[in-house]
């Protein structure tokens, strides 16, 4: 019997081929217009006057200071967030206490607050005309319009990232392994380092990646607290805004291209994690 004589059957759980092709076409076209086109424009605009102009625009003093500042802020905010995420996940998953659901809601809160409102809150708490702020300024510790404020704003907007990835994974893994280690006489730290950490390392890395991407790119909250002082409190995204508003398009898009390249690296690493270590990530990350 040759295949050619067989009529082609479509199983009852599939859409008609034409509908399938149409849906795929809509999906591809939609993403091309909405996502790929803006991505391409960033690099096209950056390279409008050639490679040299793009690279040169990143070499001046203000641009280099912006890159340094963004790296510094990220280097402080991300570990702070990782420490918080681990502590919160340990507290929430290893102990039973009242108000746990409420605590989780509070941790998720920054996701539903506008970054601008987040910045506003920090200005109102630590700004020079608040009680705490004026005391800190008088003692030489300005927060707002200075680096600590930018760090605070960044930690605020990225607050739930690590905790959110760790909590579901640690709930799934339960407490038995840790309990066994403790029964066998391991100290708390040793249990954490040798039992818990290996179990959560990929989820931790995943959360840290998401956190890093957001920390490097945060704009709204930082715009409010930074004061936008060139060479001092202007991060990369803030510098992009300043350059763009001064009609320095190539310089603005070159810095944007640099941030975009970092975002693409993050995306690549994240996709690799999803492929390689899916079983050790939160269930919603597996596909």
């Amino acid at each position: 019997m040759s295949d050619a004589t067989l009529p082609t059957f479509r199983t009852a759980t599939e859409e008609a081929p034409l509908l399938r092709i149409a849906l795929i076409a809509i999906a591809v076209a939609g993403l091309a217009i909405l996502v790929f086109a803006p991505l391409a424009v960033v690099f096209a605009e950056a390279l409008r006057d050639g490679w040299l102009a793009a690279v040169e625009s990143l070499g001046n003093r203000d641009a280099r200071s912006a890159i340094h500042l963004t790296l510094l802020i990220t280097a402080i905010a991300v570990p702070a967030n990782a420490v918080f995420g681990i502590a919160a996940a340990w507290f929430i998953t290893k102990f039973d206490f009242r108000g746990k659901a409420f605590l989780i809601t509070l941790i998720d809160l920054p996701f539903s607050v506008s970054p601008v409102v987040a910045g506003l809150c920090i200005v109102l708490l630590f700004g020079a005309n608040s009680a705490i702020g004026s005391w800190l300024v008088a003692h030489g510790w300005p927060i707002v319009f200075a680096i600590p404020g930018i760090v605070l704003a960044t930690v605020f907007v990225t607050f739930p990232f690590v905790a959110r990835e760790l909590i579901p994974v640690m709930i799934e893994q339960g407490r038995t392994e840790e309990e066994a280690a403790l029964t066998l006489g391991a100290s708390g730290w040793r249990t954490f380092r040798t039992v818990t950490l290996p179990n959560i390392r990929w989820a931790l890395l995943y959360g840290t990646l998401l956190c890093t991407a957001r920390a490097m790119g945060e704009f709204g909250a930082v715009a409010v607290v930074s004061g936008k002082i060139r060479g001092q409190t202007a991060t990369m995204p803030i510098t992009i805004e300043m350059l763009y508003n001064e009609y320095l398009s190539v310089a603005a898009f070159s810095m944007a291209a640099l941030l975009t390249a970092l975002a693409l690296v993050t995306l690549l690493l994240k996709t690799l994690l999803e492929l390689r270590h899916a079983d050790q990530l939160a269930a919603t990350r597996r596909h």
């Binding site: 999906a27 803006p38 996701f111 809150c121 109102l124 930690v155 945060e218 709204g220 975009t260």
Partner: protein, 281 residues
């Protein structure tokens, strides 16, 4: 239940209670709760009538209405497109699928300021899409249409990412049963599959809406920022702060916070209701 109150923390041999609880509560307080408290305190000292007075100003009301209206439209667009995208990415095989799947997350990874200037360059009258639109007499950048596009961009991943795992979990038998009982494929999709996706899709919709209402970076470049017409609420806060009007900024901030909390509540209610109905989310 006995008369004894439930203990605050159940006794356990697990170490690190003090340390983990301490770090969690200290950081939560310093980073999130105290700043939000400062905003509410500022509002309280300004007085409720003054807050309402500021929020009731024509320019503020217009910006809140604009932010909410366009966010709703963008979230609706993302609801439809996001479900379609999730379905295509889970059920169909075609070349380039992995790239497409990864690209869904790009709006999360791309800094909002970058998205803002890229979309503006694209949709400005001399941009690639903007010039096309102009030929048919449409203006996109510096109008509400431009804001809509920016909000679609930032909210794009939410619905797809909440719906995808649910589609993966649907057991083929359900669809087979429906087909065996004589339902057409479209009937099955409409009456069997869609109800299963609804709770997750609604959660994604609400997340997308919440994100869009507070969005700033990707919008301000493309919006044109004309008072009463294309000025979003977060921008008004920034303007008030630049003029050192802390009271007015706090008033608008509180209005936005109330809107966010209402939406957070709605998300939680959706999840609770659907968990009861479906047994899971």
């Amino acid at each position: 239940m006995t008369m004894a109150a439930r203990p605050l923390v159940h006794k356990t041999a697990m170490p690190g209670l003090g340390l983990s609880a301490g770090i969690t509560i200290a950081m939560l307080s310093i980073v999130v709760l105290l700043p939000i408290g400062a905003l509410l305190l500022k509002g309280a000292s300004f007085g409720l009538t003054n807050v309402l007075d500021v929020v009731g100003r024509e320019r503020v009301m217009a910006s809140l209405y604009l932010s909410f209206k366009l966010s709703l439209l963008a979230a609706l667009f993302n609801l439809v497109f996001g479900v379609l995208l999730a379905w295509v990415l889970v059920r169909y095989r075609f070349p380039g699928k992995r790239i497409l799947d990864a690209a869904v997350d790009l709006p999360f990874a791309l800094p909002t300021a970058v998205a803002g200037i890229a979309l503006t360059a694209l949709y400005a009258p001399n941009g690639a899409f903007g010039s096309l639109a102009q030929q048919v007499g449409l203006k996109i950048a510096y109008t509400q249409a431009g804001i809509f596009i920016a909000l679609v961009f930032v909210g794009l991943p939410f619905v797809t990412r909440t719906v995808q795992p649910v589609i993966e979990e649907i057991e083929q038998e359900v669809e087979e049963a429906s087909a065996t009982l004589g339902a057409s494929r479209l009937h099955t999709l409409r009456h069997v599959i869609l109800p299963m996706l609804a709770p997750a899709a609604l959660t994604g919709f609400a997340l997308s809406l919440a994100r869009a209402v507070g969005e700033y970076g990707s919008v301000i470049f493309i919006a044109g920022n004309i008072p009463l017409r294309t000025e979003i609420a977060p921008l008004l806060i920034v303007i008030q702060l630049e003029e050192f009007n802390y009271d007015a900024a706090a008033a608008i901030g509180i209005a936005m916070l109330v809107i966010s909390f209402a939406m957070l509540l709605a998300i939680n209610l959706i999840q609770i209701v659907s968990r009861r109905k479906m047994g899971h989310v």
